[in-house]
């Protein structure tokens, strides 16, 4: 993996993806402040340093495609085009949220944009995605299912079962392993006998690709290639995006297990700075302008979400079943 900037292949696209990554970063900065102010409930899982994976991979998808996310899904949500205001509404537990405040930050779904959905069971979304891909194949939709999961989830039994069935049935699914080096506090080296999860793909007779997860365009092209294979009926691909969680596991994390040296080594590879560097020095004034606009947008979304009403407690026991 190289720490050098990506080739400036498509400046307009890179600028768009840069903006989306910055939006995710600003969203999370705001959420940390809101958490400190006691405005959020439960833990928050931020993706500082990993924005390029969610933003790059979702940028390669088409509207009918479907995504399963994780407990760390902000980049997946915004990458898929979910509205900041309704994501925030959900995180603040408001009726205006995507799930009327019932789901919270880890479990957001938006059927219209193919986000089905966040998942707080590590590895839980992987077999769901395989089922989604089965339906997409059986109904001849031409669409693909993309499943984000981490290096921690790669160690689960369902991950193995899922990859075997997906390859066996040539299902249109993309297994996107967001390898951020940690499963909560335990390093990947303590969880897996192999360094590269992607080598396991060989055992399922599917392609396994390692990509620089801090290079948003590289993630996007690897995903686009996997999506093309899936749409052509050639089955699943395992993409391992190497990245780094530049922050703790969640707001409940007391730290102390990520070494200063390790964090310092990854700091210059920040995907946002990498993209900015690739856009060249001429981008600097434009960046300042974009960031000011994005900052204002995020702040407005926070204000709107916080002003929205809470759901009515009486909604709790609305009929659970249609027929009963």
């Amino acid at each position: 993996m190289s720490a050098s900037p990506p080739a400036p292949g498509d400046p307009a696209l890179l600028e768009t993806l840069f903006a989306r990554m910055v939006e995710v970063r600003f969203l999370e900065e705001g959420l940390r402040a809101a958490h400190k102010a006691g405005q959020t409930r439960g833990p928050l899982h931020c993706c500082d340093g990993q924005e390029a994976v969610g933003v790059g991979a979702t940028a390669a998808l088409a509207p009918g495609d479907v995504v399963t996310s994780t407990h760390r899904g902000h980049a997946h949500y915004l990458g898929r085009g979910l509205s900041l205001e309704r994501v925030l509404g959900e995180i603040f537990g408001r009726a205006s949220g995507y799930c009327q405040g019932r789901a919270g930050h880890m479990l957001i779904a938006d059927r219209a944009r193919g986000m089905l959905g966040g998942n707080a069971i590590v590895g839980g979304g992987i077999p769901v995605a395989v089922g989604q891909a089965w339906a997409l194949q059986a109904l001849n939709t031409g669409a693909v299912a993309l499943s984000f999961f981490g290096d921690g989830a790669a160690q689960t039994g369902v991950c193995h079962e899922s990859m075997n069935i997906a390859a066996l049935w040539r299902l249109p699914v993309i297994f996107l392993c967001e390898h951020n080096e940690y499963g909560l506090t335990v390093a990947a080296s303590q969880q897996s006998a192999v360094r590269d999860i992607a080598v396991r793909a060989q055992g399922y007779a599917m392609p396994g690709v390692v990509v620089d997860g801090n290079d948003v365009l590289a993630v996007r092209s690897a995903t686009a290639e996997a999506a093309a294979r899936a749409r052509a009926g050639e089955g699943p691909t395992l993409i391992e995006a190497k990245t780094y969680r530049m922050t703790g596991f969640s707001t409940s994390d007391m730290g102390g297990y990520q070494s200063r040296e390790e964090m310092a080594a990854w700091a210059p590879r920040d995907p946002i700075e990498r993209a900015a560097a690739a856009l060249g020095p001429a981008f600097a004034p434009r960046r300042a302008e974009m960031e000011a606009q994005l900052r204002a947008r995020v702040e407005a979304a926070f204000a709107a979400a916080l002003a929205a009403p809470f759901p009515d407690a009486g909604d709790l026991l609305l009929p659970e079943y249609r027929h009963a």
Partner: protein, 324 residues
């Protein structure tokens, strides 16, 4: 009207629903070419082809989550889990994926899948192939649980389960597959959530499901010989529970015996007993009698297995206790 075995009635339901709706697909272990180890899917591969009747690897956890994913994307999968004892392998998909989806995502998805399985002791299949885990699945909100005792109900309720927008756990019994009964040729689906009085009586109410209904009817015969007319309720659906039928009967007879083939402690019969005690306390002339499996793993040897199970004799004795 035809005389069919319970397994044939289920097979007819699958065939009719598959012919009616092209989105109905079957999957499970040994269900395609072999027709299922209990032959419930016999000949369906030949009739509907390999895209709709699929053998799977031995991957219950993933298969169940696939039913969740596939059903939310437009298929109506019917999954066969060979033994109810394997349900613990399916639990993440049921408890954490299927159960919350519709409520937590505020109705954005429906999960019209059926998980068929069979349980029950009495065949000498031992501790890992004989259990009734009714309480374990009936505990989970968002699921429906059906457990027919007779071939006609097996067919009509399986048709209803396949058409239902929610996940349905369909509990069959290995000792019932060869039982005969009259089955109407083109009966409509039977509504889920309705119990049935299968024998009328005024002295005591016996409440059971699945094979225990057969035992309760035998107990009622014995009791009738002694001049005690028992009313027998076949629950047919375990969730949602038809409390209306149960409470009306108990208010009439003032006595209740509740039976379930699963473990008695924290078992399904405990829920029935509590519901009756709460709603009918002042109508009761005796404490509710609760019968279930002994607090042991199901032993292999015939006399030990028989001693662990509730049966007609025990049900009749319990009924007489309510009359003392």
């Amino acid at each position: 009207m035809a005389k069919l075995r319970y397994a044939q009635a289920l097979n007819a339901a699958l065939r009719e629903e598959m012919a009616r709706d092209p989105t109905v697909v079957l999957f499970g272990e040994d269900i395609a070419a072999y027709g299922g180890v209990f032959k419930v899917s016999r000949d369906l591969l030949q009739e509907f082809g390999p895209a709709r009747v699929r053998d799977t690897p031995i991957s219950e956890a993933t298969m169940t989550a696939m039913a969740v994913g596939a059903s939310m994307m437009g298929l109506r999968p019917v999954l066969e889990i060979m033994y109810a004892d394997f349900l613990p392998l399916c639990l993440d998909a049921l408890v954490n994926q299927a159960s919350p989806a519709r409520f937590i995502w505020a109705g954005q998805v429906e999960l019209p899948f059926v998980l068929r399985t069979q349980g029950g002791a009495g065949a000498g299949a031992g501790a890992q192939h004989s259990k009734s885990l009714d309480a374990m699945v009936a505990h989970i909100p968002g699921l429906k649980v059906v457990a027919p005792a007779f071939p006609a109900d097996a067919k009509a309720l399986l048709k209803a389960a396949i058409r239902d927008p929610d996940p349905v756990i369909f509990l069959e019994h290995k000792l019932l597959y060869n039982s005969f009964g009259e089955v109407p040729d083109d009966a409509p689906p039977e509504p889920i959530g309705k119990a049935k009085i299968v024998r009328e009586g005024a002295a005591v109410t016996l409440i059971a499901s699945s094979r225990m209904v057969i035992e309760a009817l035998a107990a009622a015969e014995t009791l009738a010989g002694g001049g005690v007319e028992a009313e027998v309720i076949d629950l047919r659906t375990l969730r949602p529970l038809d409390t209306e039928t149960i409470f009306a009967s108990v208010r009439k007879t003032h006595r209740a015996v509740v039976v379930n083939e699963g473990w008695r402690f924290c078992g399904y019969a405990a829920e029935l007993s509590a519901a009756i005690a709460e709603a009918c306390f002042y109508a009761l002339d005796a404490p509710v009698q609760r019968l279930g499996l002994a607090d042991r793993a199901i032993p292999y040897s015939a006399p030990l297995e028989a001693a662990a199970l509730p049966n007609a004799e025990a049900i009749a004795a319990a009924a007489l206790r309510t009359l003392q």
